[in-house]
Amino acid sequence: MTTPDFKALEAEAATRVSAASDDEALRAILREYTDKGGVVAGLLAQIPTLEPSERKGFGQSANALKQGVLAAVETRRGELEAARLEAELNAGGFDATLPGAALDAGSLHPLTHVRREVEDIFTSMGYAVLDGPEVELDYYNFQALNIPADHPSREEQDTFYCDAEHTLVMRTQTSPVQIRAMETLVPPFRVIVPGRVFRNEEQDATHEHTFHQVEGLVVGEGIQVGHLTWTLKRFLAELFGYEPKIRLRPGFFPFVEPGFELDMSCGFCDGKGCRVCKESGWIEFCGCGMVHRNVLEAGFAGRDDVDVEKLTGFAFGFGLDRLVMTRFAIDDIRQFMGGDLRFLKQF
C-alpha cells in the first residue's frame, strides 16, 4: 500500500481549521479527525498491515497529525475568542442616556434632615436632646416662664387655648421644656429641645400656625454671656460650614434677663447687604439670653438637692423651618405638611 502523504494531510487539516468561523465548525473538524472512525483512527488501523519496520514511523506520523489538528483547533479557538471579544468591545448600540432602573425609594422629610444635623452638632457638644408635650399646661408655657396671666406678651403670641379656663394651651414655644428640664435634671446640664410649636396665624407662603423650634438651655455655676455667644457661634459654624460673624443686641423676652437677639452675618452677601438681609448685612437668627432668676426659681422650686442661688444659665430658641427653607430654597412653607410626594421625594 502506499504511504499516505502526511504532510499533505496536515496541510489540508490546517487549512480547514483556519477557515473554520465558529466553534461548531471546529468541533466538526475535531470529530472528523480524532473520533473513532475518524481520519487518524483510520490511519492507525492500517498499522497491522505495514511492514514492522514502517509501523513505528507511521504511527508517529499519524499521532503527529492528530496533535497538529488539536493544536491548530486550540489556536483557532483562541483567535475566534479574541475576535469575538474584540467584536463585543467594539459593538455599538450603547445609549448613554438610557435611564437606570427606578428604585421608587423612600424619603425623610427636609425638617428631619436639618433637625438631625442640629441634634448631632449639639450632642457632640455634650447636650442631651429632650422632648416635651405639644398640648401644654399654661403653667409651663407661660407662668413658670415669668409670663404671668396679665402679661402683654401673651397676646402677641396668639395662643391657641385648649379650654375656656386657659389651663391648657398648644405650646407657643419650646421654652416650657426649660422648666420641665429643671424639674428633673441635676445641674450642671445642657439640653436642646427640638419640637413643634403653634401660633394662631393666618397661613401663607411664609407663615404657618404650626412650626418648629429648637430650644437650648444650659444651667450651672458660673455660666456667663460669653458662654452663650461662644456656643452659638460654634453651632452656626458647624451648621453652615463657615464661621459667620455674630452680634448680640438687646431683645426682650420675659424668661431671660438680660435678653438678646442674636444676628448672624448674611451668608448670601457676606454681610455686604442684599435683598435677603434687607440690606442690613445681618440676619436675625434667634432670641436668647441669661435665664431669668424667676425662671430658675420656678424650675428648681422644692429641690433640696439644688442650690439655686448659685446657678446661672443661658437659653436660646431658634426656628427650624426658616433654616430648612433657606437650605433647600423652599419658597412655600405650606409644602412641609402638604404630603405631596413630588415634594417629599426630593429629600
Binding site: L108, G126, D150, W230, L248, R249, R293, T312, L341
Partner: protein, 803 residues
C-alpha cells in the same frame, strides 16, 4: 412706633450723628430699629420759587400765567389756577421732570394754548395736609430761591421705625424725650433741659375731682381759658406728619404732640361739657358710651370710665367721648392727664378691639410722676403759640399713687460673673449713672436708686440692672468664652433613638416617605375617618371653623394623603412618627395622655394588588412592618387577628394586632371600605398605628447569631389542595411537624384558586428547605419527609399534590 430725628434733636444735640448712626446705636444698645426713611422726600424734590408776576390767562378767567424765579437764568412761565397766588410770594415749585407723590411726573404742557413749565404746589400735592383751595405760600418770605424747599425751611428730617415689640418693657421709650434721654446716655451727650413747671394760675376753685377706683392711681384736671382752636403751627404739623400723625387742629395736635413727646397720653375736654366736674369710676354692667370715632361701645365693670355729672365723657386710657370733644368754637378746656392701671387699659382695648396710641402707652405701666410734667409741658407749648391763654385755677390732683422709685442692691461680682467683663465697681456705677440711676458704692455692693420712669415696671431685680450695664457696654464687647464642663456623654433618649431608627429603616429598605401632618385635624377628616364620636382635645380659638380638634392619632392624616398622590403613582407609602392626645385619659394636673405613635399608610393600584397573593396593600404593609421590627430587634412580636378595640379606620375583619409581653403594641389593618370611600381612595389600602412607648418597652430579642448550616440542605417545592378556611399558618405547621426537626425554612410562593380545584378550595405552594445540622441529607430523607407530610396532611383534610 415712629421717631422723627428732628424731633429728637429738640431734646438732645445730635450734631455730627446721622439718623443711620442713631439707628445702629439704638439697635445695638436699646431696641430694634426696623428702618430709616427720609421724611417727605417730595419736599426736597420741589424748589423754592419767587413769584415775579401773575397775569390773567388770555383764554381762561380763572387761570393765571405766572413768571416764577427758581434761581435759573430765566424765570419759568407757569400757568396756575390758584386764587391766592401773587407776586412776591415764596412758593414750592415742581419743575419739569419732578415726580410728586402718587408717581405724578411734572411735564411741560400747554394749558389753553399757553405753555407751562412746571407747577406751583398746594399743601395737598405735597402731602402736608388737605388744603387745596390755594397754593402753599411758604412761611419764610426770605427762603433762598432755587434751593430745595426742605432745605430752605430747615425741615429735612428722617424717620426711624421702632419695632414696638422690642420696647414693650420700656414704658419710658414711648416718646421722643425718653428716646432722646437714651441717646444722650449712649452718645455721651447732654439731655436738654425742659421746663415743665406749670405757669401762674388764677384763684378760682380747682375743678371738682372724684376718683373712686384704685385702677386710676392719679388724675390731674386743669382748666384752660382763652383758647382759639386754629390750625397748629407748621413746625408742629411737620413733626406730627413725620411720625404719621395727621394734623387736625391745634388742640388735637397739641394733645398728640405731648403724648408723642413725653409718652404721656392726655385728653382735652371742651370745658362746657364737663362743668359738673370729673368722676372716675368703673362702668356699670350694660352701660354704653359713644367714643370719638362715633361708635357706640358696650362696656362692662372691667372698664374704667371718666364721667361728668354721672354720664361718661371718656373711656379711660383708650379714647375720649364724642359728646365732650373739643370743637372749632371751643375756647375753654379741661386738660386731663392721668395714670391708669396698665392691665385694665390693655384688657379694655383688647376686648373692644380699639388699641389706640394712648392705650398702647398706658398698658406699659407709666410713671405716675409723669402726668404733672405733661400738664406743664402742654400748657407751656400752648402759651408759646397763644400767649393770651390763661389758667383760671390751680391744677386738681386726685388719686392714691405711690412713687415707684426704688433701691436695688447690686453686687459688683454678680455683674462681672454674669457678663464676664472686667470692670471695677466704680466703672459699673458710671455706666448706671449715665442712664440716670443713682449709685452709692459700699463694700462691693452698689446701692442703686432707680428713677421712677424706669421703676414703674421695667427695673425690679439686680439682673435688670446687669442688663442695663451690659447693653450700655454693648454686648459685642463681651468676648466669647469656651464652655467647659466634665466630659460625660449626655443621657440617651431611647424613644428618640427608636424614632430615628424607624424613620431610617422605613425611608430606606421600606421605601416609605415621611409625611408629617398637622396636629389640628379638620372636622371633615374626623368624620371621613369615622372618628366623629371620639373625644378630642380641642382649641377654643381655631385658625378656621372646624379646625379645632387636636389629633388622637397620626393615621387619619396619612390616609388623607393617599388619594391625591395616587393620581400620580400606582403605589403610595407614607409614614409619620408623631404625637396624638387622648383627653379621656388625663393625669392629676389635667394633661391629656400623649401618644407617641408611628403611623403608616400604604395604597396600591387594585390591578397591581391582585397580581399575586402578596401584592395587596395589607401584605405589603405587613412585610414592611415585619422587616422594620426585625431591624429593631423586635422580631419576637406576635401577630394575631384583631377583632376588638379597633381604630375607626380599620376594616372590622381584616385587622391584625401586634403584641408583645405587655399586650398590644399596635394594629395593622386593611382600611375600612367606607373610610377609603370617604377619602376618595380608589385603590387597595392598608394602614398601621404603632405605639412607640409600647414598642420601646418590648424587650429586644437575643442578638446572638444562628450558625450558618455546614451541610448542604435539600430544596423542594410542595403544593397542597385544601379548603378555603384552612389557613396558611396551619399548613406551615403541618410542614414543620412532618419535618421532625429537618425543616430549615418554608416560603409560600403561590396561592391558586380555580375551577379544577372545585368550589371552596384553594391551592398553596411552598418552597421548603430541609436541613440537618450534622449530616448531608440524601434522597431517602426527602422521600420519607414527603410520605410523612402526605399522611399528616391527609389527617387534617389537606391534600398533598404530588408531581
Amino acid at each position: 412706633m415712629k421717631l422723627s430725628y428732628r424731633w429728637l434733636e429738640r431734646h438732645v444735640d445730635l450734631s455730627g450723628i446721622s439718623a443711620d448712626e442713631v439707628a445702629v446705636k439704638l439697635t445695638l444698645h436699646t431696641c430694634e430699629v426696623e428702618g430709616v426713611e427720609p421724611f417727605a422726600p417730595q419736599l426736597t424734590a420741589v424748589t423754592v420759587g419767587h413769584v415775579l408776576e401773575r397775569e390773567p390767562h388770555p383764554d381762561a378767567d380763572k387761570l393765571g400765567v405766572c413768571k416764577v424765579d427758581v434761581g435759573a437764568d430765566e424765570p419759568l412761565q407757569i400757568v396756575c389756577g390758584a386764587p391766592n397766588v401773587g407776586p412776591g410770594q415764596r412758593v414750592a415749585v415742581a419743575t419739569v421732570g419732578t415726580i410728586l407723590p402718587g408717581d405724578f411726573k411734572i411735564k411741560k404742557s400747554k394749558i389753553r394754548g399757553v405753555a407751562s413749565h412746571g407747577m406751583i404746589c398746594s399743601k395737598r400735592e405735597l402731602e402736608l395736609g388737605d388744603e387745596h383751595d390755594g397754593i402753599w405760600v411758604l412761611p419764610e418770605p426770605d427762603a433762598a430761591v432755587g434751593t430745595p424747599v426742605a432745605e430752605a425751611l430747615g425741615i429735612q428730617d428722617h424717620v426711624l421705625e421702632i419695632d414696638n415689640k422690642s420696647i414693650t418693657h420700656r414704658a419710658d421709650l414711648w416718646g421722643h424725650r425718653g428716646m432722646a434721654r437714651e441717646l444722650a446716655a449712649l452718645f455721651g451727650r447732654v439731655l436738654k433741659p425742659l421746663d415743665t413747671s406749670l405757669p401762674e394760675s388764677g384763684d378760682a376753685a380747682p375743678i371738682a375731682l372724684r376718683v373712686e377706683d384704685e385702677r386710676c392711681p392719679r388724675y390731674l384736671g386743669l382748666p384752660i381759658h382763652g383758647v382759639r382752636n386754629e390750625p397748629s403751627p407748621l413746625w408742629m404739623q411737620l413733626l406730627l406728619l413725620a411720625v404719621d400723625q395727621r394734623p387736625l387742629d391745634l388742640l388735637v395736635d397739641l394733645s398728640n404732640f405731648v403724648m408723642l413727646d413725653l409718652a404721656q397720653p392726655n385728653h382735652l375736654f371742651d370745658a362746657r361739657r364737663v362743668e359738673a366736674g370729673i368722676e372716675v369710676r368703673a362702668a356699670k354692667p350694660g352701660e354704653t358710651m359713644q367714643t370719638l370715632d362715633e361708635i357706640e361701645r358696650k362696656l362692662t365693670p372691667d372698664d374704667l370710665l371718666i364721667c361728668s355729672g354721672g354720664a361718661p365723657v371718656a373711656l379711660a386710657g383708650v379714647m375720649g367721648g364724642e359728646a365732650s370733644k373739643v370743637a372749632a368754637d371751643t375756647t375753654s378746656l379741661l386738660l386731663e392727664v392721668a395714670n391708669f392701671h396698665g392691665t385694665t387699659i390693655r384688657r379694655t382695648a383688647a376686648r373692644i378691639g380699639l388699641r389706640t396710641d394712648a392705650s398702647a402707652r398706658f398698658e406699659k405701666s407709666l410713671d405716675p410722676n409723669l402726668p404733672l410734667d405733661a400738664a406743664g409741658h402742654l400748657v407751656r407749648l400752648l402759651q408759646a403759640i397763644q400767649p393770651e391763654v390763661q389758667l383760671p385755677a390751680r391744677i386738681a390732683d386726685a388719686g392714691e399713687w405711690t412713687d415707684p422709685s426704688s433701691e436695688i442692691a447690686l453686687a459688683g461680682d454678680a455683674v462681672r460673673g454674669l457678663l464676664g467683663v472686667e470692670l471695677t465697681d466704680e466703672q459699673l456705677a458710671k455706666r448706671l449713672e449715665r442712664l440716670e440711676f443713682g449709685v452709692q458704692i459700699a463694700g462691693g455692693v452698689l446701692q442703686v436708686a432707680v428713677p421712677s420712669f424706669r421703676a414703674s415696671k421695667d427695673i425690679t431685680t439686680p439682673e435688670d440692672l446687669i442688663e442695663e450695664i451690659g447693653r450700655s457696654i454693648g454686648y459685642g464687647e463681651i468676648p466669647g468664652k469656651r464652655l467647659i464642663a466634665e466630659v460625660a456623654p449626655p443621657a440617651r433618649d431611647a424613644q428618640r433613638e427608636l424614632g430615628r431608627r424607624i424613620a431610617d429603616r422605613l425611608a430606606g429598605a421600606g421605601r416609605f416617605s415621611e409625611a408629617p401632618g398637622y396636629s389640628f385635624q379638620p372636622e371633615s377628616l374626623t368624620v371621613a375617618a369615622g372618628e366623629q364620636d371620639a373625644a378630642f382635645v380641642s382649641v377654643v380659638n381655631p385658625v378656621a371653623e372646624g379646625d379645632s380638634r387636636v389629633r388622637r392619632s397620626v393615621v387619619p392624616a396619612l390616609l388623607q394623603k393617599l388619594a391625591p398622590n395616587l393620581r400620580r403613582c400606582s403605589e403610595v407609602r407614607l409614614f409619620e412618627v408623631g404625637k396624638g392626645y387622648l383627653p379621656e385619659h388625663r393625669n392629676e394636673r389635667g394633661e391629656p395622655r400623649e401618644v407617641r405613635e408611628l403611623g403608616l399608610s400604604l395604597a396600591v393600584d387594585r390591578a397591581v394588588a391582585e397580581q399575586r397573593f402578596d401584592s395587596g396593600a395589607l401584605a405589603r404593609l405587613r412585610g414592611a412592618t415585619e422587616d422594620l421590627l426585625r431591624s429593631l430587634g423586635r422580631a419576637g412580636i406576635e401577630w394575631s387577628k384583631a377583632t376588638d378595640d379597633l381604630p375607626t379606620w380599620s376594616h372590622p375583619s381584616k385587622a391584625l394586632e401586634l403584641s408583645g409581653a405587655e399586650g398590644r403594641i399596635g394594629v395593622l389593618a386593611q382600611v375600612h371600605p367606607q373610610v377609603a370611600k370617604n377619602l376618595g381612595i380608589e385603590a387597595d389600602a392598608a394602614a398601621a398605628a404603632i405605639d412607640l412607648l409600647a414598642l420601646q418597652t418590648t424587650p429586644q430579642g437575643a442578638s446572638s447569631y444562628r450558625p450558618v448550616p455546614r451541610f448542604p440542605g435539600v430544596k423542594l417545592d410542595v403544593a397542597f389542595a385544601l379548603a378555603e378556611e384552612t389557613s396558611v399558618g396551619e399548613v406551615t405547621q403541618l410542614i414543620v411537624q412532618s419535618g421532625k426537626g429537618l425543616v430549615g425554612s418554608t416560603e409560600l410562593f403561590d396561592v391558586y384558586r380555580g375551577d379544577n380545584l372545585g368550589a371552596g378550595k384553594k391551592s398553596l405552594a411552598f418552597h421548603v428547605v430541609l436541613q440537618a445540622a450534622d449530616r448531608t441529607l440524601v434522597d431517602k430523607d426527602q422521600a420519607k419527609f414527603l410520605d410523612r407530610l402526605e399522611r399528616t396532611a391527609e389527617r387534617s383534610g389537606v391534600e398533598l399534590r404530588r408531581g
